[in-house]
Amino acid sequence: MYAQEVKSTGKGIKTHEEMSAEERDFQVRIDAGEKIEPKDWMPDGYRKNLVRQISQHGHSEVVGQLPEGNWITRAPTLERKAILLAKVQDEAGHGLYLYSAAETLGVSRADLIDDLLSGKAKYSSIFNYPTLNWADMGAVGWLVDGAAIVNQVALQRTSYGPYSRAMVRICKEESFHARQGFDIMMKMSSGTAAQKAMAQDALNRLWWPALMMFGPTDADSVHSAQSMAWKIKVMTNDEGRQKFVDQTIPQIEYLGLEVPDSAAKLNPKTGHYEFSDPDWAEFFEVLKGNGPCNVDRLRARNKAHDDGAWFRDGLMAHTKKQQIAAE
């Protein structure tokens, strides 16, 4: 999802007998559905995993400004421009909430950002794909935010209090994001032939990357068992992906567009859609840095950061002067 590459200790889950007294109490609290708060004792692995997951999620929000920012100056009406700006502004706000949640675990936002800029920290693979026509603004809101919502709604139940509360705030805003995206898709798919072609093109390009947002298949994500036990993760990758496909395919049909997967069909027995695997080789290439936009996205964030250094320093220098004057 927004944190697709969270590696945990990978040692498998300890049994209650193998746990120390502290670990056991901790697991009992989690199993009882209690929230863990910043000052509570927590295993090192729990803290580390959370920091990685929350910061990757935060980085995704921040880098996620770029693909949609790409069309703000070309939005076709004043209203569309305003909606898109408000949406992207929300994403920046989500970045702030998440960085704050990560800071409660004893890391600093500055360090997290350094890790993003150096390429050490990851963000969601989806934002390494380009936005090539206006319908992409529809497809991103509908599919990308739609997929994010599946995950984030579940994460409201995550065990770490500040993360869970950030998810509650974020989910309130996300439904607007998905709705405005679907609204653009409706306009485009019921518009002129050119608009409909844009809508189909956007869907074709973003469908598979959206499926990849949920991460590798459960069989290949060996590290998620511990995260599930700790309720850092509350849904497996495949469960999330299935949920997303089940809700989205009927919407594609409603729009009168073609599902980009010829194998997709409803299984009447299970009530779920069957669908093809995305190209996992492509997914791992994107994670490695070989997606179509990895280099450009990081360059843009680095440029913003570097060009803004004098601004941040200037404000700090002013604050220092004020402090000295006050003494």
């Binding site: 920012g69 100056t73 700006l85 408000a86 502004q89 306009k187 601004f311 200037g314 220098a317 002013h318």
Partner: protein, 246 residues
């Protein structure tokens, strides 16, 4: 009246667009959010002014038709607002100079004898008030910040100064608007502007340029080269797909 409304609406349209160009590229996340807010306010104000302009014109053009289907020579914005972003210092200084003028302008327009103009101005002035407070605060902190931030802000002020005079020049349209009780002469705002400007610059340790030379033309449709490029981007979809509805 139509032209007067274009002058108001094109300023916020063009400046809102320039500010929106920063989206995702600001020096800190908080600034991404703040700039998006300002751009949103500007777009909202544009819809009010250009919406009324279309009504007054009575040719069936709405705010979008005016924003996306006119060429540069029909734009009536100040040259100041179309100046490119360059760096964050230019962007903030341009905003400050505009806000200082805009806030005074809107305050005056609240007293317009035209109820529609007064109504829009009353809505916009609250936002302009907030923008001006934010702009002043940043100009002071960066002017009186580090040596580098001071230099950047002074450079920006020097570069943008030739575009200040146009805000206060009166032409025949201004005289008509003044006589009709719709809008006071722009020149009448200058003393208040100068006073407020000096106060902020003093706190910011910035120096007001001496030259009084003013670049003119925006308000009558003769723009800088930059506006054409901006419109090429902004109007692309409406121009390339004229039959589409968005």
């Amino acid at each position: 009246m139509f032209e007067f409304l274009l002058r108001m609406g094109d300023n916020t349209l063009v400046l809102g667009h320039r500010v929106s160009e920063w989206c995702g590229h600001a020096p800190v996340l908080e600034e991404d959010i703040a700039l998006a807010n300002i751009a949103l306010d500007m777009i909202g104000q544009t819809r009010l002014w250009l919406g009324l302009a279309g009504e007054v014109e009575g040719q069936g053009r709405d705010a979008d038709a005016l924003a996306f289907r006119r060429d540069a020579w029909d734009f009536r914005n100040l040259l100041l607002v179309e100046r490119p972003n360059r760096d964050f210092g230019h962007t903030l200084m341009r905003q400050f100079l505009f806000d200082l003028w805009h806030h005074e302008r809107l305050s005056d327009l609240c007293l317009s004898e035209d109820d529609r103009v007064a109504g829009i101005a009353a809505k916009c002035v609250k936002e302009a008030d907030y923008h001006l407070e934010r702009s002043k605060d940043l100009i002071i902190r960066l002017g009186d910040g580090s040596a580098e931030s001071h230099r950047k802000m002074q450079d920006a002020l020097d570069a943008l100064w030739p575009y200040v005079g146009e805000m206060f020049s009166d032409d025949t349209l201004d005289i008509e608007m003044n006589e009709a009780g719709i809008a006071p002469l722009p020149s009448s705002q200058r003393p208040r502007f100068d006073k407020a400007l000096s106060a902020t610059l003093a706190l910011a340790t910035l120096i007001r340029p001496e030259s009084n030379f003013a670049q003119m033309g925006g308000r009558s449709g003769t723009h800088t080269e930059d506006l054409g490029h901006m419109l090429a981007t902004m109007q692309f979809l409406q121009r390339a797909y004229p039959d589409a509805r968005w």
